[in-house]
């Protein structure tokens, strides 16, 4: 049958791409996972061999990342990524939404403004980083800008500071995490209870209570680090967040603007004729409609920020402990230090973090597509 033959042809045309992706994505991830359970790199003679002799070491590389004194830098990197992601998201979403609402007011020259706000997105992170490295020189750039209008010079240290704030003991992290997760569960339990789903509410409530009790009394007894180890927010990241927001907020604005343009004019008219003020119109009608856009923007920006690499390299150098993140540390350990197994373990941790953000997103967006 002709049609049948064409169906086979179609599949055969797709096959090369499928095989390439199967090998280069999944095969290679599997290989990285395997490498992360070996000792590759601990013997310098084997490190750069084309066919290195690898010995299995189980989870030792992962245990090392989270507990060894030598790898305190990796743990600080995780904290850095957390704070960078938090401020980057807040900055991009806030500025992006604000600009989109401003441009939604039928302003004159809208196309010009839009072009200006979005152009940094077309630049390489390396270009942005080079530019902002110059902008943030402590004795020049932004700091001397106020002198142009007669104000005193700013004394902000930007990328040069080693200051760390909001410090906490890494040993207390399981306790903090348990309490935070317990609180989130409690909110879900309360919502389930209110929505007449008593059984689920009770289950979640008991879980939250158990986790909270463990966090408060069990977790502090854990002894995975023999000494206290302080980590916190490295203030030098403020400059990097600033540059990252400069580059990506226009993109967020474009997403929001597309969403605002999708709000039917009749809906706005209906709200206005019901006596809603512009503020009420946005607060109660339009912003709730933008919820899904906010969620996708958070996921897209979030996975970019977990992987941030070039921007920091260009702004602060590739090997600057204060502004380090796991993506950079993986590169340094692997390709500068020849610690391939440890680099692979860092890469796997990074992959798990990104997958935790992306897989539910892909899952739900493709499922809703099928439903459509």
């Amino acid at each position: 049958m002709k049609l049948h033959g064409d169906r086979v042809t179609a599949f055969l045309m797709l096959l090369p791409s499928l095989i390439l992706l199967a090998i280069f994505v999944y095969g290679f991830i599997g290989r990285t996972a395997y490498v992360s359970t070996t000792d590759w790199g601990s013997n310098p003679a084997q490190a750069l061999a084309l066919e290195p002799q690898l010995e299995p070491v189980g989870a030792a590389n992962y245990v090392g990342l989270f507990t060894s004194r030598f790898n305190a830098r990796f743990r600080q990197d995780l904290v850095n990524t957390f704070f960078f992601t938090l401020f980057f998201l807040v900055g991009c979403l806030g500025l992006g939404l604000g600009l989109a609402i401003l441009l939604d007011q039928r302003v004159r020259g809208e196309a010009v403004f839009r072009t200006i706000f979005l152009f940094p997105f077309a630049l390489a992170f390396i270009v942005t980083g080079t530019i902002w490295r110059w902008m943030l020189q402590p004795q020049g750039g932004l700091n001397v800008l106020p002198t142009l209008v007669g104000l005193p010079k700013l004394e902000l240290p930007w990328l040069t500071t080693r200051q760390q704030v909001w410090r906490f003991d890494w040993r207390h992290l399981p306790a903090y995490l348990a309490v935070i997760v317990a609180l989130v569960l409690l909110i879900f339990a309360w919502r389930a209870w209110r929505n007449q789903r008593r059984g689920r509410g009770v289950t979640l409530g008991v879980l939250a209570l158990a986790l909270g009790v463990w966090g408060a009394f069990g977790a502090p007894g854990l002894t995975f680090l023999p000494y206290s180890e302080l980590h916190g927010f490295n203030v030098a990241f403020i400059g990097i967040v600033l540059a990252a927001v400069w580059q990506m907020s226009g993109y967020t604005m474009a997403l929001y603007l597309a969403g605002l343009r999708g709000v039917p004019e009749e809906l706005r008219e209906a709200a206005r004729s019901d006596g809603a003020s512009e503020w009420q119109l946005y607060r109660h009608v339009i912003l709730p409609l933008l919820g899904p856009i906010t969620l996708s923007a958070m996921i897209i920006l979030g996975h970019i920020s977990l992987k941030i690499f070039d921007l920091i390299w260009a702004m602060a150098g590739s090997d600057n402990a204060v502004t380090d993140v796991p993506a950079l540390l993986m590169y340094l350990r692997t390709f500068r230090g020849n610690q391939f197994a440890e680099g692979a373990a860092i890469a796997m941790v990074l992959l798990v973090m990104v997958a935790a953000v992306i897989v539910p997103y892909l899952w739900t967006s493709l499922r809703s597509e099928v439903r459509r």
Binding site: F11, S17, W134, H303, A314, F340, L366
Partner: protein
């Protein structure tokens, strides 16, 4: 906080109008300040660059930095161009075929295969970097621009497939049915219907891929050497040097940014479509 409670007709004369424009102008300054600084720095002579007078106009104006930067960067720009052109064309053609198959020739299991393909564009490439590095070394492509081109074609497949699949989904199935009745097969339909209709799809994909590949850094810094490195790596090296005068990195940054900026300004409409279509690429 109410913007206005007056009916719609009077809304246009809202007293908040000037505030809207004021905020827009402030935002414009925020986005353009770095560009001003880059331009005046690049147009200064090295001796004219002092931190305290960063914001002053050049005195005298000088094109010298661009000449020097061009001499240093011309081979790297050529590498970037070869890389971006070949990798873009390769991934766009394969993506077009894939999108055609996935949108019009449903086969069992497509619902699982497609998300598995898409996942490939979100992964942190660190997670495949070590095996990729080993693989390219073993086939003798490590350090050459062709290894990097192959890499970008493969990892570009998910996004190009996604954009083309969504683009082709808009083409009505009835057109394909008609062509089938006329005796066209898989390739006939592609050549006669899909490909001629996909010009704007190709423009979107090509612009997107060209920009992404031109700007990419992680693969470039890991897989190339001094001779084959693209512009992003060369710029990072120049700017990362300690005793560097800032006019050169700034002129270099402009050279590195110009191609993608021009594309954005001239073909911005398609650029934004790619950005929204693949609203999902980092």
């Amino acid at each position: 906080m109410s913007l206005t409670t007056l009916p719609r007709i009077q809304k246009r004369r809202s007293p908040w109008r000037p505030v809207v424009y004021l905020l827009l102008v402030l935002a414009t300054i925020f986005y353009l300040l770095p560009i001003y600084l880059v331009l005046v720095t690049a147009l200064k002579e090295a001796t004219d660059i002092q931190l305290a007078t960063t914001w002053n106009l050049p005195n005298p104006w000088s094109w010298g930095s661009f000449v020097t930067a061009w001499q240093a960067f011309a081979p790297k720009l050529r590498n970037s161009l070869v890389l971006a052109v070949f990798a873009t064309v390769g991934s766009a053609m394969l993506g077009s075929l894939n999108g055609y198959v996935l949108s019009k020739w449903r086969f069992p299991g497509a619902g699982i295969v497609f998300p598995l393909m898409l996942f490939g564009m979100f992964i942190p490439y660190q997670a495949i970097l070590i095996p990729l590095f080993q693989f390219l070394k073993s086939v003798g492509l490590y350090g050459s621009i062709w290894g990097l081109i192959l890499t970008h074609i493969v990892y570009g497949l998910p996004i190009t497939t996604l954009i083309f699949r969504n683009f082709y989904a808009e083409i009505p199935d009835e057109m394909l049915e008609a062509a089938k009745i006329d005796g066209s097969g898989f390739f006939g339909i592609y050549a006669r219907i899909m490909f001629p209709l996909s010009v704007s799809g190709f423009v979107v994909v090509i612009i997107w891929q060209f920009t992404q590949i031109w700007n990419e850094f992680l693969f470039a810094v890991t897989l190339t050497n001094q001779a084959s490195q693209p512009i992003t790596v060369a710029l990072a090296q120049l700017a990362g040097g300690e005793a560097v005068k800032w006019n050169l990195p700034m002129a270099g940054a402009i050279l590195a940014a110009l191609p993608t900026l021009l594309i954005y300004i001239v073909l911005g409409r398609y650029f934004i479509r790619g950005l929204l279509a693949g609203s999902v690429k980092g």
